[in-house]
């Protein structure tokens, strides 16, 4: 059951990410300083290479697994707590570190908005799915 919860949470966040970066593909490319050629170059997200997507799914499973561990040890149950804790982890734990990287490497603020938005909403979705599976049980 716990594996199903973690995989479902990861899958939900992964699907959200596909939609998110689909919607923001143009501003993301501009903010990341990438051209159409860059993203179609070997290893790029539209090169046909599976690697970025495999990395993303594996990492998302790891995040979901760790969040489940924290939810279980912290006794996070119920939809409201799942939303609050998931949002908190994304907005106040993942996003701060993303922001420090981007501010020092002088990346446009839009990139931080798009990427932190993905982390925050992605973690919130994972929090919701995890509590729906009753993680603390």
């Amino acid at each position: 059951m716990e594996y199903l919860a973690v995989l479902s949470a990861a899958m939900a966040s992964y699907i959200f990410g596909a939609v998110w970066y689909g919607v923001f593909s143009k501003p993301w490319m501009q903010a990341a300083g990438l051209t159409e050629e860059d993203i179609k170059a070997p290893g790029g997200p539209q090169s046909g290479a599976a690697m970025p997507y495999i990395i993303t799914f594996l990492m998302t499973v790891i995040v979901a697994g760790m969040m489940r561990h924290v939810f279980v040890t912290g006794g996070v149950v119920g939809l409201v707590n799942g939303i609050v804790s998931g949002f908190g982890v994304g907005a106040f734990l993942a996003s701060p570190w993303i922001m420090t990287n981007y501010t020092f490497s002088m990346r446009p603020r839009m990139l931080a908005v798009i990427d932190c938005g993905y982390a925050t909403i992605g973690c919130t979705i994972m929090g919701v799915v995890l509590v729906l599976f009753g993680v603390a049980g």
Binding site: A32, M51, V70, V89, T103, F104, G122
Partner: protein
């Protein structure tokens, strides 16, 4: 929840981020006249480190994490398995997976140090 713990942990995170960014060669300073961004990276880092320390403290409060060892191991876990993966994912889409891996490792180390302090000041 201890405010002292949050502030000390945030200060350690702040110093760690500055040292790491210098090592990475991201030597952006607040006094660069070419820089159009009015928010100094040091100021932003200081603010977000307080947020990060506060969030970890809240999770430690929920999970009854006490002591530097317990705090450090869970901090390492949060850095390596929650914050770090997002950085690696986003860097890999920019075809900078190696840099992302380095930065994710630095996040894990930073979270570990901050977690140890937060475990000491529950």
């Amino acid at each position: 929840m201890s405010l002292i713990g949050i502030l000390v942990a945030a200060a350690i995170g702040f110093v760690w981020v500055l040292a790491w960014m210098r090592w990475r060669g991201f030597a952006r300073t607040a006094t660069d006249p070419e820089d159009p961004d009015p928010i100094a990276p040091q100021l932003l880092t200081g603010v977000v480190m307080v947020l990060a320390a506060g969030m970890v403290q809240y999770l430690y409060f929920l999970a009854d994490v006490v002591g530097w060892w317990e705090g450090m191991t869970l901090g390492l876990g949060l850095g390596a398995f929650v914050a770090g993966p997002w950085i690696l994912v986003q860097a890999s889409f920019r075809r900078q997976a190696f840099g992302g891996l380095l930065d994710a490792g630095a996040v894990a180390a930073g979270c570990g140090m901050m977690g140890a302090v937060l475990g000491l000041f529950p």
